[in-house]
Amino acid sequence: MTTFTDPPAESFKLSMLVYDTRYRSITFQILALVAVLLLFGWLTMNTAQNLNDLGKEPSFGFLGESAGYDINQRLIDYSSQSTHLRAAFVGLLNTLLVAAMGCATATVIGVIVGVLRLSGNWLVARLMTVYVEIFRNVPVLMWIVLCMAILIEAMPAPSAFRGDNPDATMKLFDTIAITNRGVYIPEPLFSRSLGNLHIGTAFDISINLLAILFVLGVSLWIARDITRRANAKQEATGLRPRTWHTRLAVIVLPTAILLAFLGFHLGYPELKGFNFAGGTYMRNSLIALWLALSLYTAAFIAEIVRAGILAISTGQTEAAAALGLRGNRIMSLVVLPQAMRVIIPPLISQYLNLTKNSSLAIAVGYMDITGTLMGITLNQTGRELETVLLGMLVYLTISLIISGVMNWYNNRVKLVER
């Protein structure tokens, strides 16, 4: 008969801290942590000492003071009497705006270019190669300035739209005006508006927007339920019911009804005197920055997508084809789910790069967080350390949120290996 006992306890020796795999990593992590803490402590002490010598007490009180400068491109109410904090918030929203717009368009362009670069059509593939090589091999700052220059130089002035026989006309059935000052697009207006929700004294949120988002959310949830039911039906009978029209109706109709109820209409830009009035005004700086960041980052994303698809061996496509699957199903069921795992980690880096590169906004005068907090506010208050620390904190937070979300998605689709 055998009895099971614990293996004899080894006596602990100091050398095990370095040579035993169980302790080794912990030992080195503790050493590294101590080193980092010492370094930080020294830096902080040193800085505090130096600031003290200069007679500057570190303080964030300036954030509550009136900013005294204007911001021309803004998503929320702001005037020169507003505080530095609100100016920074306007800048933050501008950063988020251009980053979100940039990531979305860069992804769309990048995926299209990446797939087309693998196309059998020689000309198309070559054109895409040229695009990628041109855009990724010139610093993004130059693309931003170039886009701005083109918008200013090549677009007509608002005065060119005047007269009976104007030099320039509005695009898309007279709804969009592209001028050298910026682009005017129709703005959403509500004739039976629900007004604004006041949060504290500083922030207002449109109840219309909240209502629309709520209805849209519920619709999407129902649409997902329909998809789930279609899946269940396919599992039970093998036949997949056509659901796209019901899904489309479920998503579109409630929102459309709500919009009608709110008296939704578009306010078109109109030429009044020497300039356009009405509509939403997107400054050249925003458009130039958005275009340049999208086109530049898209070149990198295209390469990532291409590499992702190429990383899936032709054996996978062949095996799927041999089983009788058609091209689009092979793509969606076999190749893309695998390619995503290769694509996502470098894609996160590109989103982060784009967000950080958006701080070059200052080159064309787009007021992002760098332009407000670390630009004018810094110059006016002389609080270098505080503003830079705040700015870094903001970018760090945005970046960590982006990578957190993307990593969560990536973990969900990870391959199981043994």
Binding site: Q234, A236, G238, E318, A319, A322, L323, L325, P337
Partner: protein
């Protein structure tokens, strides 16, 4: 190469297996080029239902290319290929029809690594044959039992050994209920002890009367189950014969040379 797995006398005599008069595959006067390189030259081959054909030949002789033409993984440029009465043209309908009747196993298994073993086996039945999932799962489990790995159904391919993966690949093809199976060197990426388990599965298939075309260097397998061995060299079918005749009295010099190399004497 390895002749080890089949040193013993055959369990079944090849002639004991029934071959019908019905034609399963007819290839006539088929040619294929890669650019200016003439890979396949005037291939003529008729396969009857229930035949087990082994294709041998030196590396680069066009064996893979030929069987890949049968389910249009490669396109032939002249001549005719008729599978189960359907001619292979660029017509997608014909290609779909033929692919759903012809199963194929590859040297590197090519299982889908992001799907479980069970999902690998049900993917095509569900999306191509429109089988209800419940039924597809039942069929898949039936074939997984047949290849003796039902207990791995919920694992991922990366968690299985090579031999197990190849048996899953065979089960995956069988789930489409093919009438013809193509094998392209199914055992040459495997260790000797795994070769046997895969070959056993293939022998069982042969005994059930499956029409099989098999590119392999396993001459023991050829002796045991093939009713015809085809020797290819430089894109041509040089010689074909019953296994006994083929191994004992090869007619062409090239066959003799090849056999002496592969059998190691």
């Amino acid at each position: 190469m390895s002749d080890t797995a089949f040193d013993t006398t055959p369990v079944i005599a090849p002639s004991a297996l029934k071959v019908s008069d019905e034609v399963a595959i007819e290839i006539s006067n088929m040619n294929k080029w890669y650019g200016s390189f003439h890979v396949l030259r005037d291939i003529d081959l008729t396969v009857h239902r229930g035949e087990r054909i082994v294709i041998a030949g030196p590396s680069g002789s066009g064996k893979s290319t030929m069987i890949r033409c049968i389910n249009r993984l490669e396109e032939h440029q002249s001549g005719k290929i008729i599978v189960d009465g359907t001619e292979l043209t660029s017509d997608l309908k014909n290609i779909d029809k033929i692919r759903s009747e012809v199963g194929m196993c590859f040297q590197h298994f090519n299982l889908f690594p992001h799907l479980t073993i069970l999902e690998n086996c049900t993917l095509a039945p569900i999306w191509v044959r429109k089988t209800p999932k419940k039924e597809a799962v039942e069929t898949a489990m039936h074939f997984l039992e047949k290849v003796k790995i039902p207990d791995q159904a919920n694992k991922y391919p990366g968690q299985l050994s090579g031999g197990q993966q190849q048996r899953v690949a065979i089960a995956r093809s069988l789930c489409m209920k093919p009438r013809i199976m193509l094998f392209d060197e199914p055992t040459s990426a495997l260790d000797p002890e795994m070769i046997k388990e895969v070959l056993d599965t293939m022998i069982e298939l042969a005994q059930e009367g499956m029409t099989m075309i098999c590119v392999t260097h396993e001459m023991g397998f050829a002796r045991q189950v093939a009713n015809r061995v085809i020797f290819m060299d430089q894109g041509q079918i040089v010689e074909q014969n019953e296994p006994e005749e083929f191994f004992n009295n090869p007619r062409s010099e090239r066959t003799k040379l090849f056999l002496s190399q592969i059998l190691g004497h």
